[in-house]
């Protein structure tokens, strides 16, 4: 039995479900296949992001931050707190409730938009057909005029630290830890490592992050990365750079980790729990039949052009499955672009203005080029920096770590990049991202009226600082 659709999406993570909803909105007959199952074996939408990624981690970050604030940060306000405790199972239950709400929400959105939700494993065959093996094992073949592959990514496994989901866990397991580990090791001090390390660190773990690279947050703007490291170290996160793990040994309820240091020495450390988060890779296992015709690149991602079309006409791929930053919103916008292109619109995506955020506290966020990238391109530029320590609103909130940094082209004043570590960095960066979409110069932001007292004003002042006219900090002598 062969059903025919205009669009079949394989995967219902943020890239897949958004592509499916948009297709349906544009009048295309759409189906979305999802293989994720909950504990009861029921099909669940939302992919990594909703189930074991963005959403649950943010829920735990907020819960743990509130605990930390209540336990440590209220005395300065004159509030005394004693015996603040946190019920980990309750914290996890709240996280799970949010997940259920959102994944259920996707099913609701599918219904509302007329997307046919299919549950099971989807495999791309030749000739624009998809083989569906449903959760009972029944196999059927679906025909489609267009197929969007959105099977996402999985954590990269390293042989020296094999995940056993008990003592050694990956990011998924890290969201289910049932009691606060006394000593927590984290392999990889990237976005995920910092976030998960922050959660358990706030709840009482002594956290050590082992980062193989010599630079902290190597792809971020160096000045902001440096400031961030200072802040996280002050918070108690022990970040060790140039630390390459060479072996792990689980001994009962603890694990001994051996790693090489930057100067060639070797050290060992014992932890009660070890989280492995060294990155993610595109997930293509079982996705493509041998004769599907779709090409995979050397890193295992599906090869696509600027419009997410694969080498096979009518087959597209989006999200973590393809090149580019592995960010949910990047996947979603690619999903929208592909759906619209299938419907005949001339949609395209601006890959140059994609914000990215680390949801620690303070948040770290950036959009556009780093100072190092601008320098390497040979363009001359100006920089404006405003520290939150000079922001009235930040002082009132007792949240003054960090700064806003804006980079603009020297001659045209066009904003090239914005990098923020500080309170609400994500939302402030978004403001600059919007301005950049409209070709804004630093002066344009400087000419915009910002409410007072807000954290946003830090953006305003940094923009003014680019051209030496900041009011609330001394401007660097330039002209």
């Amino acid at each position: 039995m062969s059903e025919k659709y205009d669009v079949v999406v394989i995967g219902s993570g943020p890239a897949g479900y958004v592509a499916a909803i948009r297709s349906a909105q544009l009048g295309l007959k759409t189906a979305c296949i999802e293989k994720w199952k909950d504990a009861k074996g029921k099909g669940v939408n939302g992919g990594t992001c909703l189930n074991v990624g963005c959403i649950p981690s943010k829920a735990l970050l907020d819960s743990s931050y509130k605990y930390h604030e209540a336990a440590e940060e209220l005395a300065v306000h004159g509030i005394s707190t004693k015996g603040v405790t946190i019920d980990i199972p309750a914290m996890l239950a709240r996280k799970n409730k949010i997940i259920n709400q959102l994944t259920g929400g996707i099913s609701g959105l599918f219904k509302a938009n007329g997307v046919t939700a299919l549950y099971g494993t989807g495999r791309l065959l030749a000739g624009k057909k998809v083989e569906l093996t449903d959760n009972d094992g029944a196999v059927s073949v679906i025909e489609a005029s267009n197929i969007i592959l959105a099977s996402g990514s999985v954590p990269i496994a390293i042989p020296v630290a094999p995940v056993d989901n008990d003592i050694i866990v990956d990011s998924t397991g890290a969201l289910e830890i049932s009691e606060v580990p006394k000593r927590l090791g984290v392999i990889g001090a990237g976005v995920i490592g910092l976030e998960l390390g922050s959660v358990w660190g706030r709840l009482g773990s002594k956290v050590v992050l082992l980062e193989a690279l010599d630079d902290f947050l190597a792809v971020m703007d160096k000045a902001v990365a440096k400031e961030s490291k200072k802040i996280f170290t002050k918070q108690g996160l022990d970040i060790r750079l140039g630390a390459r793990v060479t072996g792990t040994e689980v001994k009962g309820k603890e694990v001994e980790v051996t790693y090489q240091t930057a100067d060639g020495g070797e050290l060992t450390e014992t932890f009660d729990k070890l989280i492995v988060c060294v990155g993610r890779r595109a997930f293509t296992e079982g996705l493509l039949a041998a004769d599907s015709g779709v090409e995979v690149d050397e890193r295992g991602s599906i090869f696509v052009n600027d419009f997410c079309a694969t080498n096979v006409p009518g087959i597209f791929a989006v999200g973590d499955l393809v090149r580019g930053p592995m960010l949910a919103h990047k996947g979603s916008e690619e999903g929208v672009m592909v759906a619209e292109r299938i419907a005949g619109h001339k949609a395209q995506m601006n890959y140059d203005i994609v914000p990215n955020v680390i949801y620690t506290h303070p948040e770290v966020a950036s959009v556009g080029q780093t100072e190092e990238q601008v320098k390497a391109s040979g363009e001359s530029y100006n920089v404006g920096v405003f520290p939150f320590a000079a922001s009235g609103r930040a002082m009132a909130a007792n949240d003054t770590d960090g700064m806003v940094k804006i980079i603009a082209h020297k001659d045209t004043d066009r904003i090239l990049g914005c990098h923020i570590v500080g309170p609400s960095a994500a939302d402030l960066t978004q403001q600059v991202a919007i301005a950049m979409e409209f070709g804004s110069s630093a002066e344009d932001l400087g000419m915009t009226v910002f409410g007072h007292p807000t954290l946003s004003e830090a953006v305003h002042e940094a923009a003014l600082a680019v051209n030496g006219s900041a009011i609330h900090i001394a401007n660097r002598k330039r002209r």
Binding site: H409, T412, D413, S441, E443, T448
Partner: protein, 396 residues
């Protein structure tokens, strides 16, 4: 009542034009016959004036847009011109220019630099004019070709000394067109050049002897060389009709008239106004026409009709110092005569070395049509006619 402002009717040879410059913005008051907008075509800049007085209400085309013949460009709300009404009747800062959004810093900078925002093409989202666009805008940019503007495209070539900078400037429509035509000539014709030299002493003697009388007789028109060269060319073309012909597909079209194009160099490029039926023109008339064309060309006021057609062209690189060159054909013509600098040279005349004012002549021709022998003999004929002007008179 709304009145439409339309692009003029283009002559047959012109397909489309580009809207070059708006001299008025939406909301401006305009008077009848006031210059509103310039449209640039391959050959000329057409000026469009207001057909009536009123307020420029709707601007439908932006600078840089393609404009077809008779296309509606804007509308005027008719009415008596209200004297001294404040231009900014809008409550907030005037950030709109003819419907295009302008970023705040862009407007500020444009005001400071006295730049007319209507001359800038916005590169921001939705065509917005960004500060970058204003910073990068220089009035020397070829988007304002109207001859009335004093700055010409090539004068702003000052580059900072010692830096390896580059300046990228889009070609004007005219330049692009010239570029296309020359490429196509090179590729579609079998162009060769034959050379000869002419002793100008007879012609120069004639000029010296009769200049005053000529000028008096012909109301101030001076006797130059072009008049006589055109006459010589006409005479030679009558004897070699193939040189006056053109190829059309697989046919050879023999023209029963001689329309001689005379190349004139202007700031914006080479233009070739045509002397129609030159075979019927007196030398004085030729001189007059050429002089009038040269003036119009410099002012950018040559019409398309004046530059169309032509069966043969004469170009003179000598005024710039060229001693010898290979002129390029002016399609669909099959030949072009190149005049050069007159240079005193030692020549052998009757066994003696004498100094003569010599000019090299070049005839580029399309070998598909004209064989070497005909080209050479044609050029020899011209040489003989120039060296002995009586021959022109006597048609021998």
């Amino acid at each position: 009542m709304a009145i439409e402002i339309k692009a003029p009717t283009y002559p047959e040879s012109v397909q489309e034009g580009t809207l070059a410059t708006w001299h008025k913005q939406a909301g401006d008051t305009v008077s009848r016959d006031e210059l509103i907008v310039d449209i640039e075509t391959d050959k000329v800049v057409l000026e469009v004036v207001a057909p009536a007085s009123g307020v420029l209400a709707e601007v439908l085309k932006a600078e840089g847009d393609i404009v077809l013949s008779n296309e509606i460009l804007a509308r005027i709300e008719e009415g008596t011109v209200v004297a001294a009404s404040p231009a900014a009747s809008k409550a907030e800062p005037d950030t709109d220019v003819g419907g295009v959004m302008v970023n705040p810093a862009a407007k500020k900078l444009a005001d400071e630099r006295n730049i007319d925002l209507s001359e800038i093409t916005g590169t921001g989202k939705g065509g917005r004019i960004t500060k970058e666009d204003v910073v990068n805008y220089s009035p020397a940019a070829p988007s304002a070709p109207a001859a009335a503007k004093s700055v010409s495209a090539d004068t702003d070539t000052t580059m900072p000394v010692g830096e390896r900078v580059e300046r990228r400037v889009a070609m004007t429509r005219m330049r692009s067109r010239i570029s296309e035509r020359l490429m196509s000539v090179t590729q579609s014709t079998a162009m060769l050049t034959t050379f000869n030299e002419v002793d100008m002493s007879a012609m120069m003697g004639l000029r010296k002897q009769y200049q005053d009388e000529f000028t008096k007789m012909h109301n101030g028109t001076r006797l130059g060389f072009m008049g006589m060269f055109v006459k010589a060319a006409v005479e030679a073309l009558k004897r070699f009709p193939l040189v006056n012909a053109s190829i059309d597909g697989t046919d050879i079209v023999y023209h029963g008239y001689q329309d001689i194009g005379v190349a004139v160099s202007t700031d914006r490029g080479l233009v070739v106004p045509v002397l129609r039926n030159a075979e019927n023109m007196s030398i004085a008339k030729v001189e007059n026409e050429i002089s009038s064309y040269a003036g119009k060309a410099r002012d950018g006021k040559l019409t398309i009709e004046e530059m169309s057609g032509g069966t043969f062209t004469i170009t003179n690189g000598g005024v710039y110092g060229s001693l010898l060159s290979t002129p390029i054909l002016n399609p669909p013509q099959s030949a072009i005569l190149g005049m050069h600098k007159i240079q005193q040279r030692p020549m052998a005349v009757d066994g003696q070395v004498v100094i003569r004012p010599m000019m090299y002549l070049a005839l580029s021709y399309d070998h598909r049509l004209i064989d070497g022998k005909d080209a050479v003999q044609f050029l020899v004929a011209i040489k003989q006619l120039i060296e002995d002007p009586a021959k022109i008179l006597l048609e021998i």
